[in-house]
Amino acid sequence: MDINKIIEECKKINDEYHYFNTIDEGLNSKSSNCYESSIRKTPKKQGDGKLNNIAISVKDCICVKGLESRAGSKILEKYKPVFDATVIEKVKQQGAIIIGKTAQDAFGFGSFSTNVGKDMKIPLNPFDKERACGGSSGGSAGITQKASFRHITLSESTGGSIVCPASFCGVIGLCPTYGRVSRYGLMDYANSLDKIGPMARSMDDIALIMEIISGYDEKESTTLNEEVPKYSDFLKKDIKGMKIGIIKEAFGKGIDKEVKEKVEQGIKKLEQLGAKTEFISLPLTQKYGVETYYLLAMCEASTNLAKYCGMRYGAAEKLEGSFNEYFSKVRSDYFNDESKRRIIIGTFARMAGYRDAYYIKAAKVRTKIIEEYKKAFAKFDLLLSPTMPFVAPKFKDIEKLTPLQNYMADILTVGPNLAGLPHISIPAGFNKDKMPIGLMLIADHLKEEKLIQAGSKL
């Protein structure tokens, strides 16, 4: 499809659904095979890149050189990064076309993409405009569902921000092992939890882009120096004898009946193809996952957001008063409520006197949760649960949630995120309101290929 038409379509969708914070209109003014505005390194020969002419949208928190990147926030309005994130560099080298930056909860703080930056628009669910896209990567999932052209999105998850919106918007979303994909150029939410991963409509595209963006990066210390498998080889591989653990707690209290049914149908399908299933219990993750996740994520986030003070980039105000007064004014005026909430809680939990009880304790529980998963993977190839316990909620219902109820929505997704385990959400059908339902598979560290192997059968 012609790039000009793609951009036109994106603009049209955006007017209605608000999936983009920025559309790279710079492309539009140029001929369709001349994308200097966003392509720094092109493949040697035109046409031999693995992503040649494929449209890629990018979550707002991933830096694209010269293209406004604000992590969905107001405080970074008009900020244009001076460098490309490693994943952007890699896809550009393969000839991809960056079409724009997708809407998200500011800094990734949310499960419904309703916590967008001040004065910004909330993305609407592609199946029902009165419902949320899920979060925090709502725009990524929405455009992935809506685009008529071949499209992959580069998204990011800290506690479920890839699989949750993928589930709510009916697309595939894969969150890789922590350290599999470089975070260089990712605006940090919680560095020990952040992972960049893709969403797409086809498993082929997921496998393709994972082969390109994975791997060691000398610019990012937490990347793993492990060989990247040829993921596409696993698309056709059968799943005979594969052992899948069904997470017992995920089918218990609080789960929507229709979600349960559809996911159980998915399980049956896998069984018919030769997979062996068995129930497994993860009591520790169930009981402490959400609390542990939010403590650690907020502690880290509160330090990451300190740099946004109206001094070097982003928002700026008239210089008045002492630096303390100035920083406070900018931060008070530009951060949204959820950002402030997380900064305050995160700062509190690492202060002397509380640090041991919260931050240190959470770090210890996290280790225990990892151990619980590791024990499970000694026995199973994959773990399975619904991605979200319910379908995309209506905005009017989200408004009624307390912050705590809001956080509890992540109960199924925080576990693999805390443990740095790769996981994927795959569409498992629709409920009677025609809202999509997602099934989640979790694999052991660096076993993304198993997610692709089994996921492609659903």
Binding site: R183, F323, F327, A352
Partner: protein, 470 residues
């Protein structure tokens, strides 16, 4: 802690390590001084940038830990120290908290007293704040990020020092160690101290003096502070625990803030940096390449080379001179070698404001030169002149002496002739000498020296003259 000395001093010293690049990015640590020219997204704290640890800096810090006999941690962990300040690119500083690089080390003072170290840890330097018209008067502040991210080690002592002089000596000893290890460049590395000081009369209520640069100022600042605290107690005032600044120009300290509680930096482990294993193999590899340190050289110079304590101390303090001394004394009498390296060479270097490595003077030059003295082939005056020339350009000593005809005149008959001439030329001085004025002879000796262009030995000339006048 219980104290009983009149003065109690503890130091926290920040030293910049002389690496090529900064601690967490590839920017040059030194070089262009144009503001903000040595910066990148990481040291400017741009969104999305990530730190990558400079292993060389770790190696340098480990050297210091080894040199101070510290216990080195098995895992290197960095933490975020959070506070808002305009010189902080990220509004947190990457530092170390619970587990520092090293603990339980010590440094010996000149007196032999040991000062124990609580910890040595690594951290990044913030940017520099530039107050265009002075700290108090400026309406605005400029920020220069060239320094942002420079590698620092912080050395924290126990409150073991009991006088400003000891604090000065501690700084001195530390600088010597840093220079011996070649991890510090006095020309472009910052070294500054925060000093905690209290006195008995106040019940040891301590003041912290921030950012004192150099060992001379440490002594000055602490002396001022002792006097101030004593004066205040005498006047019946109660001292407050406070943080003070040092004004080097005026030679005074002034209060910055009174500390009610310890600042809360909300430390968390920096999740962008992985734990680094400080393996036994790595540390022993570093150990293998450690130079002999000043105190070891000092002991050797007194015991093996037979130097006096004072001479050994002065020579061992400067690594280059100490190494030259060792090399030269394999061929030359150590005492003579020490004397010439310590006095003449140092004098000429100081006069020319040069360091040894900035000249072409090598061990072989000193050996050749001192051999000629030992063999009485040149006079000391000639040798002094040669060193002065050597500072400017390097040349072969033996050849130079031959070419310039600088061999000492030891031909007695030839000297006698010149002495007779001198006596004839200075009848007045000879008369004075004869009438008992011993010093008058020096004038005559001077004439002979001039005639020989300094090549005669003054002792010999003296003797011949006395014989002739008698």
């Amino acid at each position: 802690m219980k104290f009983n000395s009149d003065i109690v001093i503890g130091l926290e010293i920040h030293c910049e390590l002389a690496t090529k690049s900064k601690l967490f990015c590839g920017c040059a640590r030194s070089g262009s001084n144009e503001p903000n020219s040595r910066t990148c997204p990481t040291c400017l704290g741009h969104p999305g940038s990530k730190p990558v640890l400079n292993k060389k800096a770790v190696e340098f810090a480990i050297k210091l830990a080894l040199a101070t006999n510290s216990k080195i941690t098995k895992e290197l962990i960095f933490s975020r120290k959070s506070y808002f300040y305009p010189d902080m690119a990220k509004n947190y500083q990457i530092s170390q908290y619970e587990i520092p690089l090293a603990t339980e080390g010590s440094i010996k003072l000149g007196s032999g007293k040991e000062i124990s170290l609580t910890r040595i840890h690594m951290e990044e330097d913030p940017a520099a704040l530039v107050h265009p018209s002075g700290m108090r008067e400026s309406k605005f502040v400029l920020v220069d990020y060239n320094r942002s991210g420079d590698p620092l080690v912080e050395v924290v002592t126990n409150p073991d020092m009991t006088s400003p002089e000891e604090a000065r000596d501690f700084m001195n000893q530390l600088i010597t160690i840093l220079q011996y290890l070649e991890i510090f460049d006095i020309n472009n590395c910052i070294i500054k101290a925060d000093a905690n000081i209290s006195i008995k009369e106040s019940g040891y209520i301590r003041a912290e003096i921030k950012n004192v640069t150099g060992f001379k100022d440490i002594e000055r600042a602490l002396k001022y502070e002792v006097a101030r605290q004593k004066e205040e107690v005498k006047e019946g005032k109660t001292l407050k625990q406070e943080t003070r600044a040092w004004d080097s120009e005026k030679g005074i300290t002034f209060s910055l803030r009174t500390k009610e509680t310890e600042a809360d930096y909300g430390y968390i482990v920096d999740p962008d940096l992985v734990k680094i294993d400080l393996t036994k193999e790595w540390i022993s590899e570093i150990k293998k390449n450690m130079p002999e340190l000043a105190h070891e050289k000092l002991a050797k110079f007194t015991k093996q080379h037979g130097l006096t304590e004072e001479m050994a101390r002065i020579i061992s303090k400067d690594k280059e001179l100490a190494e030259m001394f060792e090399a030269v004394s394999t061929a030359i009498d150590p005492e003579l070698a020490a004397k010439w390296i310590r006095r003449e060479l140092t004098r000429v270097l100081n006069y020319n404001k040069k360091k040894l490595n900035e000249t072409g003077i090598k061990d072989i030059h000193m050996i050749d030169l001192l051999k000629l003295i030992e063999e009485n082939k040149i006079t000391e005056t000639t040798a002094q002149r040669i060193i002065e020339k050597l500072v400017e350009s390097s040349f072969d000593i033996k050849e130079y002496v031959k070419k310039q005809g600088l061999e000492a005149v030891s031909d007695v008959r030839g000297l006698e002739k010149l002495c007779k001439e001198a006596i004839d030329e200075a009848p007045k001085a000879v008369e004075e000498y004869s009438s008992g004025k011993e010093k008058a002879l020096n004038f005559v000796v001077g004439i002979v020296m001039k005639k020989t262009k300094g090549k005669a030995k003054p002792d010999e000339v003296n003797k011949i003259l006395k014989d002739l006048i008698k």
